[in-house]
Amino acid sequence: MSTFMLAGMVFFIALGAPIAIAILAASIGGIAFFTPLPLVLVAQRLMTTIDSFPLMAIPFFILAGNLMEAGGISRRLVEFAKALVGGVQGGLAASCVLTCMIFASVSGSSVATTFAIGAIIIPAMIKHGYPKSFGASLQATSAELGVIIPPSIPLILYGVAAEVSIGELFVGGIGPGILIGAALILFVLVYCRINGWGKEDHVGRLPLLSATKEAAWALAMPVIIIGGIYQGVFTPTEASVVAVVYALLVGTIVYRAISWRDLIGVLRRSVIASTIIMFIIAAAGLFSFLITRAGVPAAISAWITSVVSDPAMFLLAVNVFLFLVGMFIETSAAIIVLAPILAPVAISFGVDPVHFGLIMVVNLALGMITPPFGVNLFAACQVAQVPLERIIRHLVPFVLVIVTCLMIITYVPELTLFFRNLAY
């Protein structure tokens, strides 16, 4: 059944059907031909999968992102990042990474990060002569930081599923987040030099002091969001709606940039973008239910543990396995299914559960940009208005950068555990 569903899904996607419909059609076929299950299951999963409070952060962060864009907050954040690191060749691309790092400390979701920053930085990069597909790949990849730098929805899900302290996981995400951010900046600077892009990036930058002053309200946002979470004013999910209110107030009252007309447009875009993502997540919820019920993840995990005997090999095998899973399954669904199965095995091999959580989340965050199923990829294509297959070429080097970082995170546990041990 699983093979049939996978083949069906790939065929329908290749045909050009909407991805959510392709997943649903394959799953409906799987239910009807291979199981005694009733088709009302389709309706149940389409409702229950998105009947989740943590998932509400997605529409809210998308709305916040659109408001930040319309209200001039994103532009000022980008200006600030440009003033900081944008003076060299490829500086605009580096600014994209830095802006995503700043935004990641507000947002717990990668998709939302893509919408919020991509809408500003991708058009700017196109204006500076970067290929659209490079901009979209860079944006999709940098937005992964949204779930690695705390707060993070997937880290919360891992903490719950594997019974690990979420506070420790959040602190554990700082090291890997900085590593990936730094590696991406380094990579784009070299890559742009090789390809000859972004020679004029230093033009039109604001001096650091005035960029900082301009961006003061925008830079206050992470302070308010992180401060609010750590002061116990609101939960990481509720932070998304605080971001909406803050962006609305700053955009209308402080910057006076959002009109009624803009607001309608913002709402319209946010509804459609949220629907697209949530509908895919809902469809993936049905697909992963069927795969799980058929015992596939448990069988693969059992197989890994039966053939591997030392911790280093185990981590390598898990990474390969998660990479493959990440290609096809939505991150949250994969964590909920696999964390309770894999974390105990990792602990039995002597791997720290916080360290293992970061390995899982970084790897499955990579899954957000690996085709055929990658929500970040879909979101970035949507923002950049570029077809999916067009960005694959520029995506490959980014995937390699993240894989390299993943190996460092896997085999240098201190990177994750240093801050954790400092704080706890």
């Binding site: 389409l46 409070f53 509804v271 459609i272």
Partner: protein, 185 residues
Amino acid sequence: MLTALKLVDRAVFHVTLTLAMILLVTMAAVSFYQVTTRFVFEQPSTWSEVTSRSLQIWMVYLGLVAAFRTGSLMAVDMLQRLAPKTLKIVVICAIAGLNLGVLAVMFWYGWSMAERVRFQTLAGVDNPFTGGGISIAIVYTAIPVGAALSIVAVIARFAEEVSRASRGEPVNEAEARARLETEGA
């Protein structure tokens, strides 16, 4: 006859999209109210979480209509863009058929699910008027309603795409942009 269909299509599109926009705003308002009642007024609200989750489900399935109508659902439409005219029309028909098939399942079994669970109540909220429970069928109904209205959107979109393709015009914005770029280069 055709004008009547066009009117239905436009009405369905505007009404569902407007409702979904209102739902998004309400969701945000309810969730923000949840933060303020707990932190500012120290009187945590007990109904807001389940309410905003339920609103979200309705927003998604009403929003689906606009997503279908504007052709914005994510897809890999390489085959469609590169295919010659006849094959392109065949592919458009196949995809529309697949969409309609899935939506029909969502409609039929969504309705049947809503009927089956009508005696199950939502956790955490009481009906403010009767004091009794609220049926979870209220939430499940979003799926058949959204699916039925999406069927209208898929048919309208299909008619548009076929007529564009048969005139040799690009069927969607992505294709239009792609053509512009290749012609420009």
